[in-house]
């Protein structure tokens, strides 16, 4: 290899590295609805047999949880969310599980297996996921009685359910 080849090679590598860094830093990340803004409204088919519309729950505290059967932390979190649902549903709290599986049958089977009693909405076309610009699975959005987004949680680590419960109680008092 000649000295010229070495120089060319070095410039090529340098250009690619710089180009990569530039693209990396300027690519716009997905942005979920801003805290304080009105939660985007949607209607989805659910496992209750009816179509459920978010704005129908205005006046209640709503938690939306985006989940999928293929997402481990989602499956881990569901029974804990179910406990929160059963504890506070009579106090004006509504938990809506939005499933993003391509196959809704799989979603129903998994929900039944996990013993979920809150409604499971089917977003197999990813319409609502795109509307909320979901950037992690699971994603949990807490909406207050006036329909505004108050808390967003991305992912699940053991212990998050304690935060969820504290925030639900806080929003229920308002």
């Amino acid at each position: 290899m000649t000295a010229r080849d070495h120089r060319r090679g070095k410039w090529l590598v340098l250009t690619m590295l710089v180009g990569t860094l530039l693209l990396w830093t300027t690519t716009a990340p997905a942005v979920m609805p801003a805290v304080g803004s009105l939660a985007p409204d949607f209607t989805l088919r659910s496992n209750t047999g009816k179509n459920l519309k978010l704005s129908e729950y205005r006046g209640q505290v709503v938690m939306i949880n985006f989940w999928a059967t293929w997402c481990g932390p989602c499956r881990q979190e569901m029974p804990l969310l179910n406990r929160i649902h059963e504890k506070y549903s009579k106090s004006g709290f509504k938990l809506l599980g939005i499933n993003v599986d391509d196959n809704t049958g799989n979603a129903q089977a998994m929900a039944a297996k996990l013993g979920v009693t809150f409604p499971v909405l089917f977003d197999s076309e990813k319409r609502v996921s795109r509307l909320y610009d979901v950037d992690g699975m699971p994603s949990t959005v807490l909406i207050d009685r006036s329909g505004k987004v108050r808390y967003i949680h991305r992912g699940y680590r053991p212990g998050y359910e304690i935060q969820y419960e504290a925030q639900v109680r806080e929003l229920l008092k308002q």
Partner: protein, 358 residues
């Protein structure tokens, strides 16, 4: 901030490796050599961020290979290998350390490796770096002969999710070896007579591979089949250049049964100091067929039966797997001295293993 998407399939996204145990029986039979034994791999997470693994592997060798049969007498040997590893997940990075030791009655090998995987772009890109170092001790049975080999290897790779059904990866591995690199038992040929082999004191190599997996869905399954292609280019300072091509097709036949077929093609040219029969005395000389000009074709199939799919005792999932590969080696410049023809042989490689997740 942290890896929140657990992908058990392992596509990009840095997460702690899955908890699993694999128990295998392997069997190789070809070219007069039979090698068989167990392999055991156990992995368990100690916490949310730490995973520990252990490995045990045995090769029980019955060798009447062409080298052995034409220059010595058939022998039996046993190689045992133990390894332990620890992986630590911190944010979007996974760091791992492994230590391995291997022992047979005339060869000892110890090595340790470091590995770092890091997520970029929301888990769609994973960068991987690795370093390992090994020390071998080569002996010759019934003598007090002892010599060392030092080995250093560097790995760099990137794996990328291109579309929701297409993955791509590129990997590089550089290996530098120095020391006693030859086999103390093998001899070369000089004008038909035997002469001891002599290898260079260093062996530096570079390999680069590209691979891609394309997934296909069906009405009932989001992932019903996949096609994988892999190409590796290798070259070293012994003048060996080789190409490896691998094609694999996997498909679900039902909820519980998964089948795979694959084809592998390998070709290499001989090392600069290799000759089937030297005509003059060279400083470096080898007659190891591994360093000759040859190519090989492998065809194989594997069946996986997920016989446990929900909680059973403390297992979440269990599968029974059987794989059979047939490999045909075709040498161009290595002669079977028993026949005077270029040597070739076919080998059967069998694997039977149970995998359990918990």
């Amino acid at each position: 901030m942290f890896s929140f998407l657990l992908l058990p399939g392992g596509a990009s996204a840095v997460v702690l490796p899955e908890d699993r145990t694999d128990t295998m029986i392997h069997y190789y039979d070809g070219g007069g050599v039979t090698v068989s034994g167990p392999a055991l791999l156990v992995r368990k997470s100690a916490s949310d961020t730490v995973s520990v693994s252990g490995r045990y592997y045995v090769d029980t060798i019955s060798s009447a290979s062409i080298d052995v049969v034409t220059t010595a007498s058939p022998y039996k040997d046993k190689r045992e290998e133990f390894g332990v590893g620890i992986d630590y997940l911190h944010g979007n990075s996974l760091m791992g350390v492994t230590v391995t030791t291997s022992k047979e009655n005339d060869y000892l090998a110890d090595s340790f490796g470091l590995n770092l995987s890091h997520d970029l772009f929301d888990g769609l890109t994973t960068v991987n770096m690795g370093y390992s170092q090994g020390q071998d001790q080569v002996q010759r049975t019934h003598t007090t002969f002892e010599a060392d080999v030092n080995r250093y290897s560097y790995r760099l790779g990137v794996s990328q999710v291109l579309t929701r059904s297409l993955l791509f990866g590129v990997n590089y591995e550089g290996i530098a070896e120095e020391g006693y690199l030859k086999n103390p038992y093998r001899a070369a040929r000089l004008l038909g007579g035997t002469i001891p082999e002599n290898y260079p004191g260093t062996h530096d190599s570079q390999a680069i591979s590209v691979r891609a997996i394309k997934g296909f869905s069906s009405d009932s399954r989001p992932a019903s089949s996949s096609l994988r292609a892999e190409f590796r280019y290798f070259r070293d300072n012994w003048n060996i250049n080789s190409d490896t091509l691998l094609l694999a097709y996997q498909r679900y036949f039902s909820d519980r049964v998964l089948g795979e077929v694959h084809y592998r093609y390998y070709t290499q040219n001989a090392a600069s100091f290799y000759s089937d029969n030297f005509t003059t005395l060279m400083a470096y000389r080898a007659r190891d067929k591994e360093l000759s000009t040859f190519h090989s074709h492998s065809v194989g199939a594997k069946v996986t039966w997920n016989f446990v799919k929900q909680k059973f005792l403390f297992f979440d999932r269990m599968s029974l797997n059987f794989a059979h590969d047939y490999v045909f080696f075709d040498y161009q410049d290595f002669t079977d001295v028993r026949t005077g023809q270029p040597y070739s042989f076919g080998a059967n490689v069998l694997q039977l293993y149970v995998s359990a997740w918990y």
